[in-house]
């Protein structure tokens, strides 16, 4: 559907409303606004100062990993630090132990492929599903039958214990959202000190993806008498795998894996 057809129903109404709303705002033309550069500098200075003060927990990669882990664990996530060579087998073992039967992951990514290999090697009866069909084709199955979703975070924020996840065609938004267990892998070298540093370093201002989500723990709520309960609507559990050495990224595995159609 084109934008033109979509807008026809209420275009007239909202264009008139638009003109009146903007007209009222323009009628009260405000005093000159402070320049944006000055504001930007104030924000930058504030966060630079904060990072300086918290240098013990944010300055080095080791410190950032420790802070990241501390914050995530405080939010009831489980954090595992492992080397690039060791994490696939370790995760395969944990998934099997947790009784996960159907895992949703991007089998075309290096990390996804490494995990599939490790699952095969461990000879578990766990099925690895790629996200091959659009959600409409298998919504109920996604909600009812998938036990866990595996994603690779783009980066992370040490100060708050936050994963920065950018869903894409092979690892869509619902992988980290619908299954009761979300497993996120993050490379330690991608950890930023805080949100301010991430936004600047990754130049978010140059353009944002369809969806970018920051995740800081399993889903939770305190809506009943301020008592925190986990697993409100999103994942009940969040496991975070921090890959601490990256020389040999994801074991370099490129082995072809079949993609069992999730909608089959």
């Amino acid at each position: 559907m084109s934008a033109a057809t979509l807008d026809t129903i209420d275009t007239v109404d909202t264009l008139a409303a638009r003109a009146r709303m903007l007209g009222r705002l323009r009628a009260g033309a405000p005093e000159a606004a402070s320049p944006v550069d000055a504001l930007d500098r104030r924000i930058d200075t504030h966060y630079a100062q904060q990072r300086e003060q918290a240098s013990e927990t944010l300055a080095t990669q080791t410190a950032r990993v420790a802070q990241f882990q501390r914050m995530l664990e405080a939010a009831h996530a489980e954090v595992v630090c492992a080397s690039a060579a060791a994490w696939p087998a370790e995760l395969a073992r944990r998934l099997a132990a947790a009784g996960v039967k159907r895992l949703l992951l991007d089998t075309s990514s290096a990390e996804g492929a490494a995990l599939v290999d490790a699952l095969r090697a461990a000879a578990t009866d766990l099925e690895a599903h790629g996200y091959t069909a659009p959600i409409e084709a298998w919504k109920s199955e996604l909600f009812d039958r998938i036990d866990a979703g595996f994603t690779v975070a783009r980066s992370g924020l040490a100060a708050t214990g936050t994963l920065v996840v950018v869903p894409d065609a092979n690892a869509p938004r619902t992988v980290s959202l619908v299954p009761p267990l979300h497993v996120a892998l993050i490379h330690a070298r991608t950890l930023h000190a805080d949100l301010h540093a991430a936004v600047a370093a990754e130049r978010w201002r140059d353009g944002m993806p369809t969806n970018l989500v920051m995740i800081s723990g399993p889903s939770k709520t305190s809506d009943i008498q301020q008592t925190t309960a986990y697993g409100a609507h999103g994942p009940r559990a969040l496991w975070v795998i921090v890959v601490t050495d990256d020389e040999d990224n994801a074991s370099g595995t490129t082995m072809n894996v079949s993609k069992p159609g999730a909608a089959q």
Binding site: M1, A3, I9, D10, D13, T14, L15, A17, M21, L22, L25, G28, P30, E31, A32, A33, S34, V36, L39, D40, R42, I43, H46, Y47, M71, A133, K139, A159, T160, G161, P167, P172, R173, T174, V178, L195, V199, A200, W204, R205, M208, P209, T210, N211, V213, I215, S216, P218, S219, K220, T221, S222, D223, I224, Q225, A229, G231, A232, H233, G234
Partner: protein
């Protein structure tokens, strides 16, 4: 499962909801004060939230600096609001998001309804949105045969109970575990009575799971919007906001028009202030940043995204340089959490969508001073709200200003008249104040008044309106302070 959610909602008496007449504010406040259980709920919750917030700001100077930044960001955005709205619109449209402008609550409802009709949608799943509460969207859609299910746990609970939220961040804060246990047992099939919070939340999850799958439209609010990248920034803990904006094929976001800021970077300090002030969390579980509908090749996310920009009285607040500060609000609820009045009467007594101090200063613009004349006076002006506000809204000053506007003569010409100006205007009261200020401005008149008051003190009435409801009558002293001091200073 399918029937579970439906049955639960068929039983909900939500279609009887309307704007509560604020004229009955006093009676409702009295009833709330006489309800020990309600008072205990709020006292406990407010103490808890105050403690959580305080723990998030261990360093006073960091907090004050961050509040300065928050204020600066919001003021910067408001100062160029028309320009930013146009830039946001252009950027969103370029990203493929449809933008609609709604002058009134009714406009916004009609726009949402028109989109639903175009998709022949009968099932809407809602993430938390105070703007949708403000326009009474559920009521509007249900009347037109569209099932509207709240998915935030707190909102779901108040929807089942046929009530409105009593707090903008924690909608069901007035309910006890036992209330909710009874509610779930009654409305959700196969649900035994339990006061175990984990079990209750899992019941809510189970009841709503299918609703996410079946909904044709997901509806949400917006916490912040960045004009430079065309990004809607949503803050939540439960994941229902992400589900509502990801699983259905159409997403409609409703946003108060003041929530736009110039740059994505500017949201960094605001988001930190929001989560720390609201629930005392360093960050919430999810920050969900939406910048476009599903793109070619992507396998989930809505194919169509709409943003409804809501005025509903906001331009009135904006027009006045002092009252514009009202629109700096980021809806954290810290002002109500620290308000001695809110703590004692709870959120429902106000009768407005936004209760507490922020409600008292925003509602007169949304509903008119005539419908809200009592609200600005329901404050001791203790100043706690202004002290905790993360964006430094001078709430006490704005309350005084609104009192002035409510007491101004209805026909008095002013630069930016407020809807309902003079709602509290009383000729008699104005006469008394004029007399009083005249007496104090002229020494001779003052002396005559003093002489008369001390000599005629026996004539002071025993019934003195509101004062004598709870206190002994006021009576002038037999001798004035002037006389007493003169006597003391005279050499013996």
């Amino acid at each position: 499962m399918n029937t579970t959610a439906r049955t639960a909602h068929a039983a909900s008496p939500e279609s009887t909801l309307h704007f509560v007449p604020t004229a009955e504010f006093r009676q409702r406040a009295r009833a709330a004060l006489d309800d020990p259980q309600l008072r205990q709920s709020f006292r406990g919750a407010m103490d808890f939230l105050q403690g959580k917030r305080a723990a998030q700001f261990p360093q006073a100077d960091e907090l004050e600096q961050l509040r300065d930044l928050g204020e600066a960001v919001r003021q910067h955005a408001l100062a160029r609001l028309p320009e930013l709205l146009e830039r946001l619109e252009a950027k969103l449209q370029a990203n493929g998001i449809h933008v609609h402008w709604a002058e009134t609550a009714d406009d916004a409802n009609r726009i949402v309804h028109a989109i639903a009709q175009r998709h022949a949608a009968t099932r809407v799943i809602k993430g938390k949105s105070m703007a949708s509460e403000e326009i009474e969207l559920n009521h509007y859609l249900v009347e037109r045969g569209i099932d509207c299910i709240e998915s935030d746990m707190g909102e779901y609970i108040v929807q089942l109970a046929g009530e409105k939220p009593s707090h903008i961040v924690m909608p069901a804060i007035h309910k006890t575990k036992a209330d909710i246990a009874h509610l779930f047992e009654e409305h959700i099939p196969e649900t035994p009575y339990t006061e175990d919070v984990d079990a209750l939340i899992q019941t809510g999850r189970r009841a709503l799971r299918r609703a996410f799958v079946d909904a044709q439209i997901g509806l949400s609010g917006v916490n912040f919007a960045a004009a430079d990248t065309g990004t809607l920034w949503l803050v939540e803990n439960e994941g229902n906001g992400r589900l509502s904006t990801t699983v259905p094929d159409v997403h409609i976001a409703i946003m108060g028009m003041e929530k736009v800021v110039a740059k994505l970077e500017h949201i960094v300090p605001l988001s930190s202030l929001l989560t720390r002030s609201a629930t005392g969390q360093p960050i919430t579980t999810y920050f969900n940043l939406i910048s476009s509908p599903r793109r070619e090749g992507e396998k989930d996310g809505p194919r169509e995204v709409h943003l409804v920009l809501l005025d509903n009285g906001r331009t009135q607040a904006w027009a006045d340089a002092q009252l514009r500060a009202t629109l700096q609000c980021i809806r954290c609820g810290a002002c109500m959490n620290h308000c001695p009045v809110y703590t004692r009467i709870g959120g429902h007594a106000y009768g407005t969508t936004y209760p507490g101090p922020i409600g008292k200063i925003i509602s007169p613009h949304l509903l008119g001073l005539d419908a809200t004349a009592d609200l600005p006076t329901a404050s001791s002006l203790c100043g706690a709200c202004g002290e905790v506000c993360p964006v430094r809204i001078p709430i006490p000053q704005l309350l005084v200003r609104l009192r002035t506007e409510a007491n101004r003569a209805p026909d008095e010409a002013v630069a930016h008249p407020l809807r309902g100006q003079g709602a509290k205007h009383s000729k008699r009261e104005q006469f008394v104040w004029r007399f009083w200020s005249g007496a104090f401005a002229h020494p001779r008149a003052y002396r005559a008044l003093r002489w008369a008051a001390t000599r005629l003190r026996a004539l002071a009435p025993s019934q003195q309106m509101g004062w004598t409801q709870h206190r002994t009558p006021l009576k002038p002293a037999p001798r004035s302070l002037h006389d007493l001091l003169r006597e003391r200073d005279q050499p013996q």
